[in-house]
Assembly symmetry: C2
Homo-oligomer: 189 residues x 2
């Protein structure tokens, strides 16, 4: 019995990702995931709210983004504060050693609406967190919304590029590049 080995949540996440890749999300039961990790269904649901969450539990991106915006230089414009937040995410979360895992995870999610649904909800939480953080800097409501929305788009573009290619630029520089392109594109709308 593999009881009391540490890192149960991580073992469950790895087992889940492997099984989802092997037989697909919907052909994998929670019991099978738990068994591969040497645990049981009870323990799975003790660590994760539901079956989808096993791919999303890692780190609270919302806090990271809020912290990044709060820590931006005092005179920084809204979009510059967002860029600081994306830099922080690149340093703390989307690090090179997590790239491969992120890529595999992204492929699995792309193939299952149920998982895309969860990702979309997480995205809403990120947007809300960034908007709140900007408001706390004194940015007016609508301006904060717009800056956040553009920042979220930059984050999505940078994430796809970063996770989709081996080597190349790191997440932070990709995000800054995307933000610059987006800023230029707003003039053409």
């Amino acid at each position: 019995m593999a009881r009391w080995q540490p890192h149960a949540p991580e073992r469950l996440a790895v087992a889940a990702l492997e099984l989802f890749e092997e037989r697909g999300y919907e052909n994998t039961t929670v019991i099978e995931i738990a068994e591969r990790a040497g645990l049981t269904k009870s323990t799975f649901f003790r660590h994760f709210q539901d079956k989808r969450e096993v791919l999303f539990g890692r780190g609270s991106m919302t806090d990271l983004l809020a912290k990044g915006i709060a820590g931006a230089p005092a005179g920084a414009a809204p979009l510059e504060a967002v860029a600081c937040a994306l830099d922080l995410v690149g340093q703390e979360a989307f690090t090179p050693e997590r790239r491969e895992f992120a890529a595999r995870r992204r492929t699995v999610i792309a193939g299952h609406p149920e998982l895309q649904e969860r990702e979309a909800l997480k995205g809403l939480a990120l947007v809300a967190s960034m908007t709140d953080a900007l408001r706390r800097r004194g940015v007016p409501g609508l301006t904060a919304c717009v800056a956040t929305e553009l920042g979220a788009l930059a984050m999505k573009i940078a994430y796809e590029g970063w996770s989709g290619t081996t080597g190349g630029a790191d997440f932070g520089t990709r995000a800054r590049q995307a933000l610059g392109d987006i800023r230029a594109a707003t003039a053409l709308c």
Copy 2:
């Protein structure tokens, strides 16, 4: 037995909304919804993919938005094409007689993460549909993304205002107003 009465999907949707308001989403079973509509669980799942979908099945907003963008004047800028699409939505979908139902539905959704998740996914589909429609007009990819994202924000703001107040401006004018404000806000980012 209430067999063979018409409009089964609509009866199910009304019954579901009533029950969700009375006892909450998670305290309502699919069997109870079906019974109130004079039907059974089998029939419920024949009309709706799952329990959440009973609040979202109505009309395909994606087609409406795509049609609105495709039908915009030839020389219209991306954001102007988006405004045309939002006008069309205001005329065809968010009509005054559907306002009350929309408001009740919005309140229920706001109280349950499971429903917000579905709504977030529907939102992604709307964004994808609008972006594709803009690209078919020859708008470059990134510009289309930005215009769509700003349009989605305007749609959200207009929808909240329209469904949240009795009387007042209709959806289309609210959307155009929001789009103007957003355009002004982009200059402050």
